[in-house]
Symmetry: D2
Subunit: 138 residues, 4 copies
C-alpha cells in the first residue's frame, strides 16, 4: 500500500498565479494533482534514460492495399512478438489504415522495433510514444 | 492514382557516406525510401502547424482498481466521442493497465481531449502522439 | 516585489522516494526548488502556445570559407534586426564555426527567422531554443 | 575536399507537390538543399545517440540582482571550463538577463552541465540545444 505524505512548498505569487490559471484550463482538480502529474512526467523520462522497462504505443499509417507491406509488417511483428502486447487496426478511409501496436520492453528494443516497422516500404507515417509500466509509480 | 516522379539530388560524399550507413542500420531498402520517410515526417509536422485534421493515439497508464477514475475517463470519452475511433485496453499487471485511444480530429481538439484525460486523478502517465490521416500523402 | 506563498502538497511515498533521489542527482537544493523548475518549464511552454513574447537562441554551424553564405546570413539578420539582440561567433576548428544569435519576439516570428537562416545554402546544422523574457515569472 | 555525388530519387507526385510548396515557404533554393537539410538533421540526432562530440548552446534566464546566484553560476562554469567555449550575456530588461553559453563535449557531459546550471536557485528558465561540431558533415 502506498502512503500519502504531506509536505510544504514555497512558491512566489508571480509563479503561483499563472500556474493556478493554467491548471484550471488543463482540468486539474488542485495543485497537488498538477504537481503530481509534472513529477510523474519527469520520472518517466528518467526511466527511459536509465533504460528501464517501459510500455508504449507505436502508430503506423499505411495503405492496406499494398499486400507486400502487410506481409512484412506481420513478419517483423512476429520477430518481436515477445515485446508486442496487442494490436488495434483502424480503417481511416477506403485506402488508409491506422495500426496501433501496444508494446512493452527496454526503451532501446522498443525503438529498434519502431525503426524497423517505420522503414517498411509504403508506411506513410509512424510514431513511437513511450510511457511507463506503472510500476514503482503511484 | 499517384504518379512516380524521378529527379536528381546532389549530395556531398561526406554527407552521403554516413547517411548510407545509417539507413542500413534503420532498415531502409534504399535512399529513396529513407528520403521519402524524412519528407513525410516533415510534411506531417507541417500539417499540425496548419491545424489540419490528424489521426493519432493517446496512451494512459492507471490503476484500474480506482473505480471513480474509470468512470471519469468514460465520461470524458463520451463528451469527445466524435473524435474517438476506438479504444484498446491492456492489463499490464495485477494493478496497472494501459489504455490506448485512437483519435482523429484537429490537433487543437485532440490536445484538449488528451489534456482532459491526463488530468484525471489517478492517471499515472499519459502521452499523445499525432500522426496523419494519410490523406494527401502517398 | 514578489511574495512567497507556502502551501501543502500531498504525494504518495512511491512517487516521492524516486523524486527525492532524482532531484539530488540533478543538483536541486530541495523539493520546492525542483517543483518550481517543473512549474516554470510548464508555464514557459504555455507562453509559446499563447504566442506571447519570448527570448531564445538560434545556433548555426557552417563553414565560414563560403563567402556567399556569410553575406546571406548578414542580409537576413538585417531584415530581422528588430528581433536580434546580439550574436556570438565561435571558431570550432579551421573550417567550422558556430554562430549563436540571441533573439527576442513572438514565437511565430522567431521561428520564421530561424527557418530562413537554416535554409541558407551551406548551413550544416541549425537549432532554435525558445526560453522566456523572464517577465511574469519569478 | 568533399565531392558532390548526384543520384536519382523516386517520389510520388502526391508527396512531391506539398514538399515543393513547403520548401518554398521555408526558403530553400531547391529540392537538393531541402533534402540535404533533412539528412543533416537526421545525422546530427544520430551523433547524439552514439555519444559523439557535439557543440551547442545553453540558455539561462535569471534576475541578475541575486548575487548568490551569479556566484554559483560562475563556480559551476569553472568546474566545467574545459567544455565552455564562451558566454554571451544579454540584459533583457532592468531585472532579467539572458545568458547564452556556447558548449562543446560529449552529449552526456553537456547535459550534466546544463542540469547543474538549471538547478541553481533563482534560474527562471533554461534550455539546452545540441547541434554539431560540423566535423564529418559537409
Amino acid at each position: 500500500m502506498s502512503k500519502l505524505i504531506r509536505f510544504g512548498v514555497s512558491l512566489e505569487d508571480e509563479l503561483l498565479v499563472p500556474f493556478d490559471r493554467l491548471l484550471k484550463v488543463k482540468g486539474y482538480e488542485n495543485r497537488s494533482e498538477a504537481i503530481r502529474a509534472l513529477i510523474r512526467e519527469y520520472l518517466v523520462k528518467r526511466q527511459w534514460v536509465e533504460g528501464r522497462e517501459t510500455a508504449g504505443a507505436i502508430t503506423l499509417v499505411y495503405d492496406h492495399h499494398r499486400r507486400e507491406l502487410v506481409r512484412k509488417l506481420t513478419d517483423i511483428q512476429h520477430d518481436f512478438h515477445h515485446m508486442i502486447i496487442s494490436t488495434q487496426h483502424i480503417h481511416l478511409d477506403h485506402d488508409n489504415c491506422l495500426e496501433i501496436i501496444a508494446v512493452r520492453g527496454k526503451p532501446r528494443d522498443v525503438e529498434e522495433l519502431s525503426d524497423r516497422l517505420k522503414a517498411v516500404k509504403g508506411i506513410k507515417h509512424g510514431t513511437l510514444s513511450l510511457s511507463s509500466t506503472g510500476k514503482e509509480m503511484v
